[in-house]
């Protein structure tokens, strides 16, 4: 590219941890994935509010502008629809834009352009649409109704989109790379409570890798019950499974969907064939949550294997409340998962 800017600065420290053999947290893993793809492919550009000089509200892209220059990493006006549409235009011209939503809650302002324009591009005959829209989601941090939303179900019903929602640094890095390499628009959700959770830190492969979009991961094999979950809730389910093992002798299998659209029904069906019981756990609110589609798919594919009704543990059908007492009541807790698992096991 002719405007390839002189690199005024070296690689930012938080994207070189793997190179240095250090364990990597969730936020840094995404930063590494993004950075590596930008190095590998100069068509990858980054835009969003405050992503440049400041490095993003969560500092995920800190130092990127210094390294890649203000042509490839730049601050946009507060115009979620405008810069998402612009990303689509840039994609038409051969770029592969990564759009940051400062908080994913603000993607609602871009709802029309995402669902009507980006998602339909190939189908309309306007070609592939390699755009990733990523940003922080998720409640639990006392940030209220507009800085903590889950956005998956706003887009789950839109053919043409993919939706990715990782739960570990390894998956997050591999999936963000896969998303950038994908020729379809991808919504990429990052739970902000995982960003700096020290427990998640792990050493990542030194070699380049990606994680295929559309494939669930077995977090924990088990034979008594399958729990399907994603995002931060995966860790809650793991805690519950450990307690259920110790306290009830229950052998719980956990599937982390990782990709929500397309849904990995094969993995769910395969697991159910062995466990015959299914619990879906999601942080998102109940009515119209992804548990519904999973339930329908299981009816279509694996009804005979069910020895108990499909159950779900979800947030309450409400906007996300601010007060800690309310937010805790609103969100699924470990106890809820345990209760639901016991109910199914006893059914």
């Amino acid at each position: 590219m002719s405007t390839h800017h002189a690199r005024t600065k070296g690689r930012p420290g938080h994207v070189t941890k793997t190179e240095r053999g250090e364990p990597v947290g969730f936020l840094d893993a995404i930063a590494e994935g993004l950075f590596e793809e930008m190095e590998r492919d100069e068509r990858v550009v980054l835009l969003g509010e405050d992503v440049g000089v400041y490095g993003g509200a969560f500092k995920l892209t800190s130092g990127f502008q210094g390294y890649f220059g203000p042509g490839r990493v730049f601050d946009t006006p507060i115009s979620e629809s405008g810069f998402t549409g612009a990303a689509a235009g840039a994609a038409h011209m051969g770029l592969r834009p990564v759009v940051e939503m400062q908080f994913m809650d603000f993607i609602s302002s871009a709802y029309s352009v995402v669902t009507n324009y980006l998602a339909t591009s190939l189908w309309r005959g306007a070609g592939p649409m390699p755009v990733v829209i990523r940003g922080p989601v998720g409640a639990g941090g006392r940030s209220g109704a507009f800085h903590a939303q889950s956005v998956e179900m706003a887009f789950f019903h839109t053919p043409g989109l993919k939706i990715v929602y990782p739960s570990t640094p390894r998956d997050a890095k591999g999936l963000v790379k896969a998303a950038i390499r994908d020729d379809n628009p991808v919504i990429f959700e990052e739970h902000k409570l995982l960003y700096r959770n020290p427990k998640l830190r792990e050493v990542l492969p030194r070699e380049d890798y990606d994680i295929p979009i559309g494939k669930a991961r077995t977090v924990r094999a088990g034979s008594d019950l399958t729990i399907v979950s994603y995002g931060r809730m995966v860790h809650l389910c793991t805690d519950a499974a450990e307690r259920l093992d110790v306290e009830d002798g229950l052998d719980v299998e956990i599937l982390d969907l990782r990709t929500l659209l397309p849904l990995d029904v094969d993995a769910i069906a395969e697991s159910l064939q062995r466990t015959n019981r299914l619990l879906v756990v999601h942080e998102d609110t109940r009515t119209g949550g992804i548990a519904g589609e999973i339930s329908m798919r299981v009816n279509e594919r694996a009804f005979e294997w069910l020895d108990a009704p499909i159950a779900r543990v979800t947030a309450i059908d409400s906007p996300i409340p601010y007060a800690s007492t309310l937010e805790d009541y609103f969100l699924p807790q470990v106890e809820d998962v345990i209760t639901a698992a016991r109910y199914l096991a006893a059914y």
Partner: protein
């Protein structure tokens, strides 16, 4: 330019006939009276057939711009007729077709969206230093959308090589412009983006060309986005079913007397640039071209229904409905 205006009018007339004959399922829109604005502005762009030229995105009333930038009546009619051979394989309606080699970017219906998209296209031009320019068309009504604001603001701040053409044609469907905006000149909308805004007589094809050429030159010189208002009038209803009772007959008569094709014909003749015979010949050719295109398109098939599951993802095949399998069973999904 005269031929292009004639071709736009002839092709739309042909489309209306096809519609009356029941060949067109979707809505049919006319640009009668606006051909000068469409052709004149588009004439300022560099066309190409290999994807290296300037780019435009147009709307329902920009038939003339499409043809000027290299689109052909056959593309246009195939699309309206939903033929398998159309640029979207019959999936999309009316003028919603994209032809990147020619630099034609088809719209979606949601007005304003394409301003954002064109801002991004021209941003990419700037980033890559390609010296290419993009033009986006929108109506007086469309400029009330938030997408227009966000898109044009992006283009202005990022100094994108973009020309925003606003077509002031009196109405948005039945709503007169003074119910859309309190500004008297749409060109004034440029002020809020810190870019140049110019107003031009939209029924003077040469004036449109000259004004657009200035804006294009500015964009190509790296001076960023600008806005051009073309003042014209929609002489037919919003779509074929709209009898436009809400338009005063005097208003229609006023604009009929200022038809862009008539005006340019008079000028061509007056300046001695063409003879009446030559112009008649052009008219004949335009009719012939659109008629031949119609015949060809009519002879082509509709797409095969079962291809409706295709082209959703680049890499995922969607299932056919399970109820249409030979042995209907949802397990097979």
């Amino acid at each position: 330019m005269h031929y292009l205006m004639l071709l736009a009018r002839a092709t739309e007339e042909r489309l209306e006939i096809l519609s009356r004959q029941g060949h067109v399922n979707g809505g049919v829109y006319r640009s009668l009276g606006q051909e000068g604005a469409a052709v004149g502005t588009a004439y300022a762009l560099r066309a190409s057939t290999d994807g290296t030229g300037d780019v435009m995105t147009y709307l329902i009333r920009d038939t003339g711009a499409i043809f000027t930038h290299g689109g052909e009546p056959i593309d246009y009619l195939r699309h309206y007729l939903a033929r398998e051979t159309s640029l979207s394989g019959g999936r999309e309606t009316g003028v919603h077709f994209t032809d990147f080699p020619r630099g034609l970017v088809g719209p979606i219906s949601h007005l304003g969206t394409m301003v954002e998209v064109m801002a991004g296209i021209t941003w990419a031009f700037r980033l890559k230093g390609e010296g290419r320019v993009g033009m986006a068309y929108l109506g007086d009504g469309g400029s009330s959308t938030g997408e227009f604001h966000e898109g044009l603001n992006f283009a202005a701040v990022q100094e994108c090589p973009m020309v925003m053409v606003l077509e002031a044609n009196g109405y948005a469907f039945s709503t007169p412009t003074d119910k859309q905006t309190r500004v008297k000149r749409l060109a004034d909308k440029a002020v809020g983006y810190g870019i140049p805004g110019e107003q031009v007589d939209g029924n003077d094809v040469v004036a449109c060309y000259e004004a657009a050429a200035r804006a294009v030159a500015r964009a190509r010189a790296g001076e960023g986005a600008s806005l051009l208002e073309v003042v014209t009038f929609r002489r037919r209803g919003h779509a074929q079913h709209d009898a436009q009772d809400y338009v005063p007959p005097e208003q229609l008569a006023y604009w009929e007397a200022r038809d862009p094709i008539d005006r340019f014909r008079d000028r061509l003749l007056g300046e001695g640039w063409a003879t009446p015979e030559e112009l008649l010949e052009l008219e004949r050719r335009a009719h012939l071209e659109s008629e031949e295109a119609a015949e060809q398109a009519l002879a082509e098939p509709l797409p095969e229904g079962s291809t409706a599951v295709d082209h959703i993802y680049t890499d995922i095949d969607l299932p056919h409905p399970w109820t249409r399998f030979r042995n209907p069973d949802p397990h097979a999904l």
